[in-house]
Subunit: 258 residues, 4 copies
């Protein structure tokens, strides 16, 4: 277990309380809702180290992806983890992957991608709106993953992507079908395109565009997440549930000699 | 895009046909259902290279996780990709993670873990049955991920794990609650335990064990996957659906000063 | 279409507004949230007749089951219509049926049963709590179905039912398994028992009791209701959804010569 | 409990075996898969009476709606009971109702409607295909409900319905939106239209037609039915599940003075 390094993003956690992401650096810093703390003495400590400050007690941890998204979720409506994780699967994203996304949104999917590709991978995040890119850039930086991501202000449907031979392109924008031809040209043989859309009308147009682009292994799914309430002798599905998030569609570029 | 290397596991794909995993090596080898091929000339080719042999045409691709699991799925009932991907999330597994699983089963979850941790991570796979370990070892080798995984024949409930400071322990065995105390001792502060069980009864006992072990952020969910049939002007959910796979439960070790 | 009769329960409906159940009788009566109205002049009018009063406009309609339950739903957490309707099916309830329920709850299922059996059927509603029976009795009366229902204050698990040769017994209480032996004796050959329970633990015990009682055609299901949002070119499942209501279990008494 | 009458449709049931619908009449009759039986001696017997014939043992029962539909289900793909029951609710059908359906299909929904309206109600079943009407008529007769149903060969979209002041119209045909204007004119104030369609595209057009016709209380839902496997200490949802049947949409005619 490596000691916590200066500049690293760490989780500051209170008992039964909120999980806060902070940068580990010397000198006093204002921590949302907790007052001003100096985390300098914790540089070099091991994860699990504790801090007592002004009567409160904290643990310092390395953040998981859930910590990073939890932070984002308090600020914006973001892609749910179940959908984001399955998009990784459908798009064939893993350690070392080079992937693009259009658009950047609030940076939530960007964060998931940057986490999944690891330090040897690369994420290219396109959005035509500068304000969205700003939010996404800030959120990715807060997650400590900024060095894996390049943001580009661009209308991909009209101007295309800079990259070629990408492993995957993820489409999270209102009209994914407009981007499919451009995305196709940026993907390596065997690479995949995956889209995330809220309505069935968008799903239909997207999948028809995938077929028109001669993508193979085209599939469309939705995931329903049902939480369970566990009590001794009283276990049941929870009453609250999110009835819909979005539809996922994916296809793969397999250019054969046929 | 790196050229295909000797010894690498590659996908051999026919038009609209099956996807086969083969080792890229010189000399003739028997390929399931396709006769005998010599893939030697393709060493050093780029992914997307094509092979014509005995009237058939193939494309060579680098495998995605979906290719690896697709291969396994033809042989055994395995954890579904939606569940496996969400377990990664719940257990906080990513590039560089050190994780253990108990048991190894057919090696499907092992494959997902080995893929997700990347070349810098490590997977320790325990099973008390030697025959299961053999199957899992063979399947992981076939996926080209053998160098990231160590298999150990062991009854974890009674004998524990060798590792400490793990990022995650995944439990995919009939009585996960029996393993929880041992798993707890093998996890670093901030690390997580996640379990996958088919019945409500197992879920209840597992979650109660998580609470007894003072895990925090305990949650229980199930994911329902519904495929969609897309036709122009005729889009609807598919009639066929898997009604149940398993319940996922997770918790996190947060040892605070409280 | 029969004219509205004095004493009949009618729906008073405002444009885009609430649906109110009122008794059609001469003389001024206070209508919840609408002030005081005299519906006397509407006796003998046809459904669809309109009333203008103090600047507001109303339509008078014969209530559907949905109107009756909608009224109840504003007051208590009741069995959902999807579950109630399917219970009718599982329990074999229809026009002319003689059915019992234990317990009465708030009278919602009683209302559904009384509606389904029609004027020639009969509902026997048991509850051991006098206060529940009062609420149920009042709600059934408000629905204009009081003459089809007999309420009995009784602990059915200990004291049994008065009736024999019933078509169905419905169990909507915390421990249905305790009532099964008594219910069995009250049912005609070919009749059914159906239960509605919130937890899987209750479901398991109930179904085991059904099997112990040698009921046949035993089944257990749950129904998930997903609303859809329809917009021109923007149709999708609604985001809000009730994740769980209850499990339904049923079995049939078939006493053969075997 | 009334004795079984000559001419009545009864259930003939073997232990753990199939449920057969037969007409109770004197003289030998061929019973599907059971050889030739003479049920004459059972006229006047009570439900639950047993018959021994050629070494086999049978019980005679009065059929429930489930028995009637079970018989149909062996012959055709029919509306599922969960959907049919909820359509009754959405369309406001109950004992004494006068309802129409378009089209007749295989007569399954006709059977559910005829059962629900009871002996004092009336079902008008329209279909433009004579062969469908024949099948439906035969199936309804087999259920013993023929005297409650009138079948009419008619293209309702073009020629409308004969009836007025109906309580409900049910639409179970590929283009329900074409029938909505005609259906509207056949419904009493407060009556409802309900449709059952398989695709999102049909749902969208149907609901838009409901709104264009100024129906109120318009709603769209789907019901997912999940069976449960109950074992002592091993209870879980069943693995098999029907992923989709159809979408239900309904609206109500409320002609106010507005």
């Amino acid at each position: 277990m490596d000691p916590l390094r200066e500049g690293e993003t760490v989780v500051l956690r209170r008992r039964e309380g909120r999980t806060l992401l902070v940068e580990l650096r010397p000198g006093p810093q204002a921590i949302e809702g907790q007052g001003v703390l100096d985390l300098g003495p914790q540089i070099g400590a091991l994860p699990g180290a504790t801090v007592r400050w002004a009567g409160a007690e904290y643990v310092l941890l390395r953040p998981t992806l859930a910590d990073l998204l939890g932070q984002l979720r308090r600020r914006a409506q973001i892609v749910t983890p179940k959908d984001a994780m399955y998009l990784l699967y459908l798009a064939g994203v893993g350690p070392g992957s080079r992937v693009a996304e259009s658009g950047a949104g609030s940076g939530a999917l960007t964060t998931v991608l940057a986490h999944a590709v690891g330090p040897t991978g690369r994420v290219y995040s396109y959005d035509r709106r500068a304000d969205f890119l700003d939010v996404a850039r800030r959120n990715v930086a807060r997650s400590g993953l900024a060095d894996r991501v390049e943001f580009r202000e661009r209308d991909v449907a009209r101007e295309g992507l800079d990259e070629t031979e990408l492993d995957s392109v993820l489409l999270d924008l209102p009209e994914p079908w407009e981007v499919v031809p451009r995305a196709l040209g940026a993907i390596r043989p065997g690479g995949a395109i995956a889209a995330y859309v809220p309505t069935y009308n968008q799903l239909e147009r997207t999948v028809l565009a995938f077929r028109a682009a001669r993508l193979e292994e085209v599939q469309s799914v939705e995931l329903l997440e049902r939480a369970l309430h566990v009590g001794e002798g009283g276990t049941r599905p929870e009453f609250e549930m999110l009835g819909h998030t979005g539809f996922l569609a994916s296809g793969r570029r397999v250019v054969g000699p046929w």
